[in-house]
């Protein structure tokens, strides 16, 4: 996993400017940074401290409290298996099992080619279509094992710079 990620500092500045350097927007700023780099790279933390005027402890406190923020790099495709109640009673666990097998990783891990991260998430609000997974911002519903595996297969075949 150790790999230095090149951070374009002007992009970080743009994100902070979008929120007028408002420290109340710390969480949203980190979410926007994660949208670009899949996580909050350690190199941007001093910038957040400086520009928002918050303590470094606050940055770590917020980053570790909220589930949408990761301090570790994640895969290009973040596969989230919904484990909300409706999906749970309709067999979300079976989908999670199938995806773990298909990707050869456990929940919370990233594949060695850094293509996929597998996450279990609480309710994504598509309860009528359960069991549901999302890959980045795309949602796939009404799945069984085979259909879930097929979704992953489609992403594997996609050109690396292709969009979801």
């Amino acid at each position: 996993m150790e790999q230095t990620i090149k951070v374009d500092l002007s992009k970080i500045d743009n994100i902070i400017d979008r929120y007028h350097g408002n420290k109340e927007a710390l969480l949203m700023i980190m979410q926007d940074i994660s949208d670009i780099y899949s996580h909050v790279p350690p190199t941007v933390i001093p910038i957040l401290v400086d520009r928002l005027g918050v303590k470094i402890s606050m940055v770590y406190s917020v980053a570790t409290f909220y589930k949408t923020i990761s301090l570790e790099p994640r895969g290009k495709y973040i596969v989230s298996v919904c484990t909300g109640t409706a999906c749970h009673v309709r067999g979300a666990e079976k989908i999670a099992d199938a995806l773990q097998q298909k990707l050869g990783i456990q929940e919370g891990q990233t594949t060695s080619d850094r293509l996929f991260t597998l996450k279990a998430v609480r309710c994504i609000g598509c309860c009528a279509s359960g069991p549901v997974i999302t890959v980045n911002k795309e949602t796939y519903g009404g799945l069984d094992r085979t259909a879930a595996e097929k979704v992953i297969e489609n992403y594997k075949q996609m050109p690396l710079n292709g969009t979801a």
């Binding site: 099992d97 994504i124 609000g125 009528a128 094992r145």
Partner: protein, 617 residues
């Protein structure tokens, strides 16, 4: 577009839109683009439809609207063709040429696509004749299927912002509050606190006042707030503006989950449009009243649905609740008096102002007025969002609207109120659902999640599931919640693994009462509810796990095994073909056998068998 600078210009604009609509295109195709239908592929269907209309030169005559959630998510993607209201469920791109050719051009039905009621097996052509919709009263949710959420004009056409104009020009803040009090509206987020009283208390406190919308819908199994924000964001905005006028606030916030990207997008568009039209910002409609709304995206923490935690999160801190010796209506966000209401509550406000408190109060029961949107999900035939008057029985919701339990299985329980709620057994099915009746049987209304469970759901596993959820979501500040939930979860996990012992049930009850009494916030005080109600109503299942080491529902893997019943097995080979372990053997048309040493209890054979020959032992 000219800015609407006064009430008259809004009314003139409204008239213009309405007359344009009546002289508009001949056909309107409403295609659901809510998150549920989206997951089944609305985007591809839309693309195919537009291509087909272009190919047939029909774009001038047919208007296509991508609307918010229609509610019947089970059957997505949903298409409704107006003016007739022809309903086509589960449409696919390859159906488009036939739909355009037959229905749109020649007013003929595509027989193969007509909705077939799963209960009566009858074919039903029109949307409003379908039992799922027929028994609902959609005063809040009804416009979702008619308007494009990204078009403010669509909302204005259905009398949008006229309630706001009425409150700005015809009513004093006191009168608005009196009207809301009289309507009997209670908070839809879970607590059921009377909205009018909350507004009144907030108004009486001095300082910079804030109006906040709680769209941090964290209850697993509930998604009505998401669908309202995605499908009709202006109704929520209008409600908030009216609230701000009543309370005397100039700053509003919507705290919405980051996991709801479409809701964030549609809300952002709606707010920008409001500013452009002069419905938000300085001097709204020339009244002299200033108000604007900001969006704050939550970070995936269930506890942030709690008011004090939400406000901490709005301030940019981790969302940890505080003790409420001083209520947030007195000192909340940035220490100002802050009025927090849920999405659905806000959406009720314009409806009350437009139709009057008396009209509203005539709907529902004695102490719970109006309608409630429920997210009817789980083991039920027609899953989706259902809006019914308060007091409608569970049986009507689950069996008449929901169509009952799929695959002829038996109803076991319905879980209401999310992780803070409880599981209600069959004998209470005739209970009229309102705030008070649900709490009498140990559950709560919550935000409106209604998860149906059948004979294949293990109630001990459900209790374990919720505690596992709450253990993760506990913010960790107070001991009873942090440690208590963890201990209860350990006991439940050991029961599910077959290591339960005598005294476990009593220990769970004792711990549960302790957590309820001594936790800091609502998350902790309600956390034991799923365990306590399942013990109350399904004690036999707990005892079967502990004493007989059996999981009667066949969920807890160490406590059951599958067997093939030789009497019922027809030897069709379906299960044998699908078994990933090759554990099933047997000749065609002869009873099969299952090798227990190879079986991993994945349940594929159980789900596959059409003859119920795979049994749980």
């Amino acid at each position: 577009m000219a800015i609407l600078s006064n009430r008259e210009s809004l009314e003139k604009f409204q008239d213009k839109l309405k007359s344009a609509q009546s002289h508009g295109k001949k056909k309107l195709v409403s295609l659901c683009a809510g998150s549920g239908c989206g997951a089944y592929g609305t985007a591809k269907v839309h693309h195919a439809l537009m291509e087909e209309l272009t190919r047939q030169n029909l774009t001038e005559d047919v208007e296509v609207k991508l609307t918010g959630c229609h509610g019947f998510c089970e059957k997505g993607p949903i298409m409704v063709i107006h003016p007739q209201g022809i309903f086509y469920p589960q449409v696919k791109p390859e159906h488009m040429s036939e739909i355009v050719e037959k229905t749109i051009k020649n007013n003929e039905l595509v027989q193969s696509l007509i909705f077939k009621d799963p209960v009566s097996k009858a074919k039903i052509t029109l949307e409003h004749d379908i039992p799922f919709y027929k028994l609902q009263q959609r005063i809040i949710f009804g416009n979702n299927g008619l308007i494009d959420p990204t078009s403010i004009d669509d909302y204005i056409t259905v009398d949008g912002y006229s309630a706001m104009a009425k409150t700005l020009f015809d009513m004093t803040p006191e009168k608005i509050i009196a009207e809301i009090k009289k309507s009997g509206l209670r908070g839809r987020g879970g607590g059921g606190f009377p909205t009018g009283i909350k507004w009144d208390t907030c108004r009486k406190h001095h300082g910079i006042r804030y109006v906040i919308c709680n769209a941090d819908e964290g209850d697993p199994g509930a998604y009505m707030d998401r669908s309202l924000l995605e499908g009709n964001p202006h109704s929520v905005i209008e409600g908030m503006i009216i609230g701000a006028i009543a309370i005397g606030s100039h700053d509003g916030y919507v705290y919405v989950r980051h996991e709801y990207p479409l809701a964030v997008t549609n809300l952002t568009i709606a707010l920008d449009k409001c500013r452009e039209y002069g419905l938000l910002g300085k001097n709204i409609l020339g009244s002299g009243f200033d108000f604007d709304i900001n969006i704050s995206r939550g970070g995936g923490a269930f506890v942030c649905g709690e008011s004090t935690a939400l406000m901490a999160s709005l301030e940019g801190s981790p969302g940890r609740p505080r003790a409420k010796y001083v209520h947030t209506v007195e000192k909340g966000f940035k220490d100002g008096p802050s009025n927090l209401n849920n999405v659905e509550t806000w959406a009720n406000v314009p409806v009350i102002i437009n139709n009057g408190a008396d009209w509203y109060a005539a709907i529902g029961t004695k102490h719970s007025k109006g309608t409630k949107i429920f997210s009817l999900v789980g083991k039920v035939v027609n899953t989706g969002l259902v809006e019914v008057p308060m007091g409608t029985s569970l049986r009507t919701i689950i069996f008449d609207i929901g169509g009952g339990i799929p695959k002829k299985k038996k109803f076991k329980a319905v879980q209401t109120g999310g992780p803070s709620g409880g599981c209600i057994p069959e004998r209470f099915l005739d209970l009229g659902v309102d705030f008070d009746e649900l709490s009498k049987v140990g559950s709560i209304m919550g935000s409106g999640g209604m998860i149906v469970m059948d004979q294949d759901t293990c109630m001990v596993d459900v209790a374990r599931y919720f505690l596992d959820f709450l253990k993760e979501e506990s913010c960790g500040q107070c001991n009873p919640c942090r440690e208590g939930i963890k201990q209860m979860l350990e006991i439940l996990t050991s029961i599910c693994q077959g290591n339960g012992k005598e005294g476990d049930i009593e220990m769970l009850e004792e711990l549960g009462v302790m957590i309820q009494r001594f936790s800091l916030c609502g998350l902790g005080t309600s956390a034991p509810n799923p365990v306590l109600t399942t013990i109350l109503y399904f004690r036999d299942e707990y005892e079967a796990h502990i004493r007989d080491k059996k999981c009667p529902a066949g969920v807890c893997k160490p406590l059951f095994h599958y067997e093939i019943d030789p009497e019922t097995c027809t030897g069709c080979r379906s299960c044998a073909k699908k078994c990933p372990q090759e554990a099933i053997a047997g000749d065609k048309k002869k009873p099969h056998s299952l090798d227990q040493s190879k079986c991993i209890k994945c349940g594929i054979c159980y789900d596959t068998c059409k003859f119920d020959a795979i049994v749980i032992r």
